[in-house]
Subunit: 222 residues, 4 copies
């Protein structure tokens, strides 16, 4: 994909997450450009109306490489993950309602529906503070380790993937699963998928065509 | 009814269930064509915008008889029920939110409002896995036995009927009842209709004109 | 008011309650014509699109006096109340979500917000069956006695008043109060207004201008 | 700002709160004009369609100074606060759903998300009655003391600030925080921000540019 195609895809992904209320007016997403830089939506951009013009390029210290608008204060989430995870090509920082409610009461996130199994169990950064310093970014990256997602207590979520489409779909699945977990917790103790069940869903559902179908489904709701 | 009329009715039923969020982007419905084949929406079809062109015909082994698009992987739900239930002319596989939440916490489905009495108590397939093999389809059919509906743990529901309109209405009633049961469970222990009360509602409400009124009501919300 | 004005007002009231999801596709409302007859929407009428042409006139035995469409099977609710309550000029039979959920778990309706005080405590008909016979209608009227409203277990509500505008507003207040009571019950034990507080609100809020303001508010949401 | 600019800003703020369902058909907001008078929306104004023409000027006894429409009966909330808090330039009286539900069950309001920290803990007026007399207004002002907000049991909220934009944003944050607190309480015991965490958010988030961003965000949803 060309840089413009990647930036367009990134803008579309964030815009869809904003329409689904998974990103609010201050979430952000990024795509790796190379070892030392990445694309990210600007701090001031309107998430629900994002265009390619809202995507700037910054290096791993947050210095602008392309574009003139300031990146989000929490760019450290992205830079510190790109620094230590060469396999990661895209990062989403979302403010998802149901996932965050689980963190507020100390309830661990559990896979309770098919697509949720693609994320497995998710570690928690046990602080509600903003990730607006390099040490906080390093803490997020360290908690993520080799995984797919991190939850930030009373704050939000971070999801990483090997491309923008997968990152979008996983960010959506995380919240879809959390919604079901939260709603089930209101009337009882939800069944958690066994490791064998999770593995079966991972093998069957983490395919390019199904991830793309999720993208198309959210696209149709714009 | 002509084959085209049945396929149109089937497409309309699935489309209405999608608009009511009872079918999501991967649910499916079918209508029997004869002893050895049935109509079903294709795997790739967009459920909320379904047309007669999205309906294909397959035999009981899932082989395409008419049309060129692939049927859903879970066609076994339909084929195994048609195989052993000659009275069944239509089958809906839905992903209903509230009904599924009940299964997630092991709460049995109970008739708590008038239309819910048409379904009675509903057996559970105690596995969250996809019904994408013939043995899993046989398990669903065996759990259904001579009944009207089956719930699939943490997954969804299957409803059968003697025609598409009735199947649609019962799929809607199942979820309307589950919604009330779930909401009541949040504040207490909902009153379950007695067998005498259920029987009275079955006699009064399972009439072609009332089932059609439900169809028309959902149609008006498209 | 002329008969046509009353019928128009009745159609508007039911239509607004349908848009607020207090009346569903089978609720009904009536206005007294004289000692022996009343106006009511027909059984088949579409509640959310009601016009004056959907209003028929029946006597207290349900026999059509004007119009050609059948009245609802549950016309007995209206006729038996008109028979014994000469002060009542309008009756609404609604299917309100939150009020009904309270009845499903046996939670008594309690005044927990200002407008709810206009209804006070509300007696319950302890049966989920349809009010489609004269004895059931008499039971509803006897439970109502000299009051303003009755709840029907796992079924709905009946509200009476001295004109259509007041009846509409009280039907709306009943559900607005039940919504707050239900939502508060999810996190604790809601404060119930004292008799002195209720009396103060009744004196201040049950005025023609405030009832009309409620009507106008719902009208603005059509 | 000119008087017309302040009145326009006030009308916009109330209109946005009405669209967000934080103000209902009877809430009101004001902005100080001078030591002895303030601007306020009239009692009869339609909150969701407010224009500058709906703003009247009254003195601290509620007597009209400009305009011809009657102020709300509860103008005492505003006048008694302006009387004793010379630093206050704007007051909002809202009827926020989630904040009020907390008061109904006696649950104290707690800062559980970043913007909620700008309000801190909030005192309660332990009466559901209207603030339609000077003594009740004085009671509200005394409970507020030097703070930012007061909750009124089973009734609503009052927020004060140094200008209309800040007052609007704080009224919105109060309800956004209460929503999260309520929802978390349904599944557990939400984490309350420590005093250190609250202080950090107050320093970082109570800036003119972030308050204005909140205003712009709600504006985009009109």
């Amino acid at each position: 994909m060309s840089p413009d195609e990647i930036r367009q895809q990134l803008a579309d992904a964030i815009r869809m997450l904003a329409h689904a209320e998974i990103v609010d007016h201050s979430g952000h997403g990024s795509a790796r450009r190379d070892d030392r830089s990445f694309y990210i939506n600007s701090a001031a951009s309107v998430r629900g109306a994002l265009t390619i013009g809202d995507i700037v390029t910054v290096d791993l210290d947050g210095t602008l490489v392309e574009g003139s608008a300031r990146p989000p204060f929490e760019f450290h989430i992205h830079s510190e993950i790109y620094r230590v995870r060469p396999d990661v090509q895209a990062v989403m920082h979302t403010h998802p309602r149901w996932s965050t409610l689980l963190t507020m009461v100390g309830a661990p996130y559990k896979p309770v529906f098919a697509q949720g199994a693609l994320l497995g169990e998710i570690p928690l950064v046990d602080s509600p503070m903003s990730v607006n310093t390099r040490p906080m970014g390093e803490r997020v990256a360290a908690t993520l380790a080799g995984g797919t997602a991190v939850l930030l207590k009373s704050h939000g979520a971070v999801v990483v993937a090997s491309d923008v489409v997968e990152c979008f779909a996983l960010a959506a699945y995380l919240e879809e699963n959390a919604y079901r977990q939260y709603m089930a917790m209101q009337i009882g103790d939800p069944y958690v998928f066994s490791e064998v069940e999770q593995q079966a869903f991972r093998e069957r559902l983490r395919t390019p065509s199904l991830l793309r179908k999720t993208w198309d489904h959210y696209w149709s709701k714009l």
